[in-house]
Symmetry: C2
Subunit: 140 residues, 2 copies
């Protein structure tokens, strides 16, 4: 395993997978800069994403590799892929094909805001929460 200085300042790509074999993947819209989703990748998902230029992830709930858009058609074309300082997180700038990234039908998974400056119980506020597609029709 590479030492910390090599991981942070070197040009060798050495993703630091966790005990679960995964790294975190942050996905932003290449045009708007909005965060579309946060997902996870195992080594195979990383390799397939690099080779194909399309986003592959690992589903923790379904315990399987999946290509984004394989059910919905909402593929993500990767415009740029970056790795962070300690190489345990990836940032994908993507062109989102189709109406949205979120399985709930929204463009982004982040459609609710948390009000700031308050203690105690917090009530969320919808933000950019209109449905971009009908999940009932897209996911058979």
């Amino acid at each position: 395993m590479a030492d910390q200085s090599e991981i942070e300042e070197g040009l060798g790509f050495a993703p630091q997978f966790g005990a679960d074999g995964l790294v975190t993947a942050v996905v932003t819209d290449a045009k708007s800069g909005d965060v579309l989703m946060v997902a996870h990748m195992n080594a195979e998902a990383v390799a397939k994403t690099i080779e194909s230029g399309e986003a592959w992830y690992y589903s923790r709930s379904r315990k399987k590799l999946w290509k984004k858009g394989e059910s919905s058609g909402h593929i993500q074309r990767v415009v740029e892929l970056r790795v962070d300082c300690d190489q345990d997180a990836l940032w994908l700038k993507v062109e989102q094909q189709g109406a949205g990234a979120c399985h709930t039908g929204r463009r982004s998974c982040f459609y609710r805001a948390v009000p700031l400056g308050k203690g105690g119980a917090v009530t969320l506020e919808f933000r950019d929460a209109e449905k971009a597609f009908d999940p009932g029709k897209v996911y058979k």
Copy 2:
């Protein structure tokens, strides 16, 4: 625990902390939209961030709560906080105070790109990698 439909469509804020007690926090620059860093929050970090409007995290390596900027002075003022569909990830849009977010001295932790379309060994490419500050001077 709230059911899935309540978590996804409700207005109750119920962060789904993992077995390690943490949720993932994605931090973007409110102006440029660039991803600055990926960090983690425990319940206390979430509460302190909401109350103060400044970013608090939980360090997995140091096993302690920390306020971003407590050593460097590079505080993050939170402009907007959002939660994702399954409430296990947060998105902070911040005004980064000081020169940068990364402990290596860069503005963002994501200063290396992974070239796409290639199989086998991958050589990273520096991207936006100029130092914004001297970590040796900032971290005593």
